[in-house]
Symmetry: C2
Subunit: 520 residues, 2 copies
């Protein structure tokens, strides 16, 4: 194990008239012998505190060294061996931040927590925030506020985590950050203007690691900040984390990685090659589609089913208590159930005459809607509905998803059946029933054991970076060898998209396991 | 020539949908091919400005790269080839700062200037300032003020220099600093407490280069600041500069380097070995001894002579106008002349009865004094005097000087006559008459052509660092191979000191060319 920050025990001869070497130089000399590195840098801001700590420790103790790609940097000195040497791994999400503290001495997780991204106030999604970043706010621009807000959120999260193990945030000596390209731009206070404008170019993909004090993070001022590199504006470090966590880059067999949020990002590859793309999947799959849609949380319908014969609806929610809404996985189950019960047709349109829909379809101002949970049973006496508009949005999302998957596999000449595993990242991967997604024609019709949920692989990748030099090296290799395909302007993608706007697909042969409701 | 900062011409393909590499990464990729370096770091604070400048330049132009010992760092990007790429070399003296601007494109000096060290207000000499550094001043400590004041002085000097060639200080992309260990501590805001306390240990000898913005220097914020390393508290980077400028470390024959200020620092060596020591020489040799003493400047008596027979006194001053005082070289000439004219004896005591002293010796409250320039001829109508007390101080200084030279040569078993050259640094070297110093027994009795004035070698070394990688490498080697002998506690030195408190010496055989006035 070669953690990002390590301790090195040092015992130097104390200064004397016969050896008048300066305090810091004395420490560096002792360290050089242990480190086997030609260059050991002490950042300017660390000279005074490190030299002072070394002297106060009686010229012996434990040097705290951060391993930068350019070489080791000395950031602190402890008189005694600490119980923990703490690094923070951060998944910098658009809506939520999730983080853990890792004991870098043994790689163990010490604490985990999540926090709302304080930037939400300035825009719910990425595009709204990019727009806000350019806006003048009094004397300042939005970017400044977005930056400050996310730094605040990170500090809040760090305080909570540190509190869990009775530590000060200033004792956190490393931070690894994994997030989408836009969030990372805000974190680094970089102009996001070109991220959402053709040809979609970031200011920076792979910033060199730097010292925490430069961002005022409130961690140890000499803490190393390691930001997971991005591949493009729509393919961020969170996906690189996913590759590292799934070990897609290490396998002999070809696998696929899918991460679904507002965008769907997909990687296909093996130890020899990696190809990636990203496409707008719409907010449907994040639970943002339905007006009753919500993130997977307490009170959300996570799974549901409709008896194809009787139309009887049953569901399960996350946690106890009345239903508040329906999350992405619930929507997929629901729409698949509506299709199998023939309540919607292959175009995803309500067939109100069907007996299975009895008493569940209502007319609203903007069209028909399916009553998922009646007002009487629902939280706040407000019925949970799924409207035709909601279904139309999901149809676009699922079509986009399947088109992305077919386009990218086609690019490299790999058939779906040749995929050894399909890793599904994030909350989507955790909650989704692959079977229902197959019914909808969103995911390829493959044996269910092919699909592997990854959990929060963005956070997992960030944790791995803290613990292992080999993973940091893999990260560098992944970035060097990955090929990125831009789908926003891809002709093939557009054609495939049209064919995918039916349940499960216009080409039914692609989905042999799904009943086909021929309407002709 | 491998200057500390260099330009590299770059022409990158502009971004496209087929190549969505981030702006900064695009620049780094293009540079990597030209630089032949595995690691190229962009400091965090430079990401935004460099990426922006690259884009605004149409992805082609000139990358500004600082060559750190740990590897190259990208600090700026210019659309057009600049006429100058400017580095500032600084001699950070206790009383004066002297600096030059160098065009790093060809190594030529563009401007030179000097400025009083603003710290003078807080203490005339090093010890006074070290004491002041610990003093509370309102809410702050003296160190903060000393640091701020020297930064101000440097900025003032930079402004003057930049003004000379119609540049902004923010266009200065490198700063090399050569100064004594205490001044460097103040510059870096490091605690000088242990510098003057046994065993005389600096906080840091060789700080790693860092970015100018960290000190608020008002230069280019990404300018590299390169500080000449010290060997000990009393052997600073200014002496390392002297070694580099004299090429003591490059020669087959053994030479000596002498730098005299309040302390006398001496190096003996050749390409194979270097030995150094420093000892308190007293302020006499800096012109601080006599109450009429002054630095070598306008109105100072630089040279003088006394006719040994008639006692007739003649002198020459620096510049036009009336005499203001007498500088170090003048004092040496004067005391040597007093001795040769028998106005003082071998102990340096006035013999007022001597005819050569006629009318020139007066009685003052604190003893006898020699009238150098009568009130009527002197600036402000104030006579320039040299008192017995002044001479006693000089006697101690010259004894210290000679003792240092004999002690260090004895340490390595080198006789004075084996020295190929003796380089004499600084104003002392520039103004002093080696012959008169020999008469006093301050310098060894060697042919005068052995003595070579070096000029401001502290500044010269700083200039060389800016221009040549080979000099930066030599600097590293010099520090690694130099042996430092602490004289403050050296028994041999103390014994030699006693023997040196006569003119020229108790052992007259050491000074065959000097008339010996036996008083027995």
């Amino acid at each position: 194990m070669q953690s990002l920050v390590k301790l090195y025990q040092i015992k130097a001869n104390p200064p004397s008239l016969a050896d008048n070497t300066g305090d810091l130089d004395r420490l560096k000399k002792s360290l050089a012998a242990v480190l086997e590195s030609k260059t050991l840098v002490v950042p300017f801001s660390r000279i005074a505190p490190v030299a002072k700590a070394f002297r106060h420790s009686g010229f012996k103790g434990f040097a705290v060294v951060a391993h930068y790609p350019s070489g080791p940097q000395l950031i602190d000195f402890y008189a005694e061996a600490p119980e923990f040497l703490v690094g923070m791994a951060l998944d910098l999400g658009t809506t939520h931040l999730e983080a853990s503290l890792i004991n870098l001495l043994n790689g163990k997780v010490l604490a985990r927590a999540a926090e709302v991204n304080g930037q939400l106030e300035f825009g719910a999604d990425i595009l709204a925030r990019i727009h806000f970043a350019q806006t003048k706010v009094g004397e300042r621009v939005g970017l400044d506020l977005l930056h400050e807000r996310v730094i605040e959120s990170i500090h809040k999260l760090a305080s909570e985590l540190a509190g869990q193990i009775k530590l000060k945030t200033s004792e956190i000596v490393a931070l690894s950050v994994s997030g989408n390209t836009t969030m990372v731009h805000f974190f680094l206070k970089q102009n996001p203007y070109h991220l959402c404008r053709e040809p979609y170019i970031p200011v920076v993909n792979g910033p060199d690691p730097f010292l925490a004090f430069e961002l005022g993070l409130g961690l140890h001022p000499g803490a190393i900040v390691w930001v997971m590199p991005s591949i493009g504006s729509y393919f961020g470090g969170d996906l690189i984390s996913g590759i590292l966590a799934s070990e897609l880059d290490q396998q002999d067999t070809t696998c696929m990685l899918i991460d679904v949020g507002t965008n769907a990002e997909v990687v296909v590859g093996n130890r020899d090659w990696l190809i990636a793309c990203a496409g707008a999947a719409g907010p449907a799959l994040e639970g943002g589609v339905a007006r009753m849609g919500m993130r997977a949380g307490i009170g959300a319908i996570e799974h549901c089913s409709i008896d194809p014969e009787s139309g009887k609806f049953s569901y399960q929610t996350i946690g106890e208590g009345p239903v508040k809404g329906i999350c992405g996985s619930g929507v997929i189950d629901l729409v698949a159930g509506l299709y199998l019960a023939r309540i919607i047709d292959i175009r995803g349109k309500f067939s109100p005459g069907q007996k299975q829909a009895k008493g569940r379809i209502i007319e609203q101002e903007d069209g028909l809607a399916y009553v998922v949970v009646p007002a009487a049973e629902a939280h706040g006496g407000k019925a949970v509905l799924l409207s035709q508009i909601d279904i139309d949005a999901l149809m676009r999302s699922k079509a986009a998803m399947y088109s992305i998957l077919t386009t990218i596999t086609n690019q490299v000449g790999v058939a779906f059946k040749d995929l050894h595993h399909i890793y599904v990242a994030g909350a989507f991967g955790k909650h989704i029933s692959p079977r229902q997604a197959i019914v909808l024609g969103m995911l390829p019709d493959l044996p269910l054991e092919i699909y592997k949920p990854l959990g929060n692989s963005s956070l997992a990748g960030a944790e791995m970076i803290l613990n292992e030099a080999s993973v940091r090296e893999r990260c560098r290799m992944v970035v060097a060898k990955i090929t990125y395909v831009e789908l926003n302007v891809n002709q093939e993608f557009m054609i495939r998209f049209s064919g995918s706007r039916f349940i499960p697909h216009t080409d039914h042969a692609l989905f042999p396991s799904v009943p086909f409701h021929d309407e002709s």
